[in-house]
């Protein structure tokens, strides 16, 4: 028998995957539910949470990147399960293995190189000037770069 994927050996992941009873409350009960259900391919029988929890290698499932950490699944679940914690563990593992999408690595590079989540464009600067607001500066990003080096966020990622 194949040994389970290393991610599946982590207590959070085992706990969530085993506690989930596939009752679909977190994804299919109108009014308080996971909004990723609006993506193509999910319905009340095949839910987003089921899709994430049942993947053989959760970290290589591109679906994990759709989760926006809204916590609704935790709040809706009658069994106190947290699919969010499962998905975040899978994302962290994916990042370590170099499986994160370029959009995400680009966002992280944007934050650590400028200090802002969004690129500062000439139109931003023009509009700020029109409104009498101070121009935006990026000097503080140097400290974020140093933090990223210290924590390892800036290290190249990929399969060994």
């Amino acid at each position: 028998m194949r040994s389970p994927h290393p991610l599946r050996a982590r207590p959070i992941v085992i706990g969530v995957a085993e506690a989930c009873l596939r009752c679909v409350v977190c994804c299919a009960v109108e009014t308080h539910f996971c909004h990723v259900q609006f993506e193509e391919g999910f319905d009340e029988r095949y839910t987003y949470v089921y899709h994430c929890l049942s993947a053989p290698d959760p970290a290589s499932n591109p679906g994990i990147w759709l989760c926006t950490a809204c916590h609704k699944c935790e709040e809706a679940c009658p069994y106190e399960t947290s699919p969010l914690r499962f998905i975040e563990a899978a994302k962290a593992e994916a990042y370590k293995r170099g499986l994160a999408p370029r959009l995400l690595t680009g966002i992280i590079a944007q934050i650590t190189s400028t200090g802002y989540l969004f690129p500062i464009t000439p139109s931003t600067m023009r509009r700020r000037a029109e409104l009498g607001l101070k121009p935006l500066t990026t000097e503080a990003a140097e400290e974020l770069r140093q933090i990223a080096l210290k924590t390892g966020l800036a290290e190249p990622r990929g399969e060994p």
Partner: protein, 293 residues
Amino acid sequence: MRRYAFFPGCFIRVRLPHLEALSRRILGELGVKLVDVENFTCCPEAVSLSVDKMSWRVMAARNLSLAEELGLDILTLCNGCLYTLRTVNQELKGDEELRGRVNDALSIIDREFRGLIEVRHFAEILIENLEKLKAHVERPLEGLRIACHTGCHILSPPEIMGFDDPYDPVILDELVEALGAEAVDYDLKTLCCGWTLSTYGSREASERLLASKLNSMRRGGATAIAVICPQCFHQFDVGQASAARRLGVEYRLPVFYYLELLALAMGFSLDEVGYRYHRVRNREVERALEVAG
């Protein structure tokens, strides 16, 4: 009210600076003193940095330490910034071992998190000072029927955010009614606006979601939307315009950041609150506001 270290957040500073300008003015008129902190950076955003929670915490702790140096609580205009800064602040205050690891990383830039301040959202300050806010209403927004969208990250997890009931939020409704408008109920009130889904997922899914949400608001009788988060504002404005174009349906539900509504009730004109920067406009709503004036 009192002095705060002002944390407008990247989205407002870069994409919606008219909301920064208005917030400075309106909060100032209410007696809130906003102190600029030049070295604040992105909070940082929780969804992208969830891949490395330690880096997320250290970068957030850096921002918190800057406000601690000034001895000021942080006041933010954004649900996402509140989520990051309040969560990290609470985690580090309550976990000495984690705080030690974060401070070890922060030492590289000669900073330290000490756990001396709180992080506040402007809506919390306003609801705590509701009577004072009402005293500033010169032009009640009668005739406006507003669907309130509180947003996800100020509500959840409730044991940390502590703002309102995540299953049935009512505080924004109270704030809207304090201005003389009517807050309408609708069935998809706690459904996400879909902004983050449009970033990390598909635009089509985000538009389907938006269509459901806007239809629910219309069924509730809304003529406009109120929000307290810049991402939600952007989604209901630019996202609504693009969903309407692609789906061939006109919802015509203009969205207002709460401080814009407050400014209108204080007697500001639509032009003064920056309505010219909005994509979704509605002549009937404009007329109702003119009549209210």
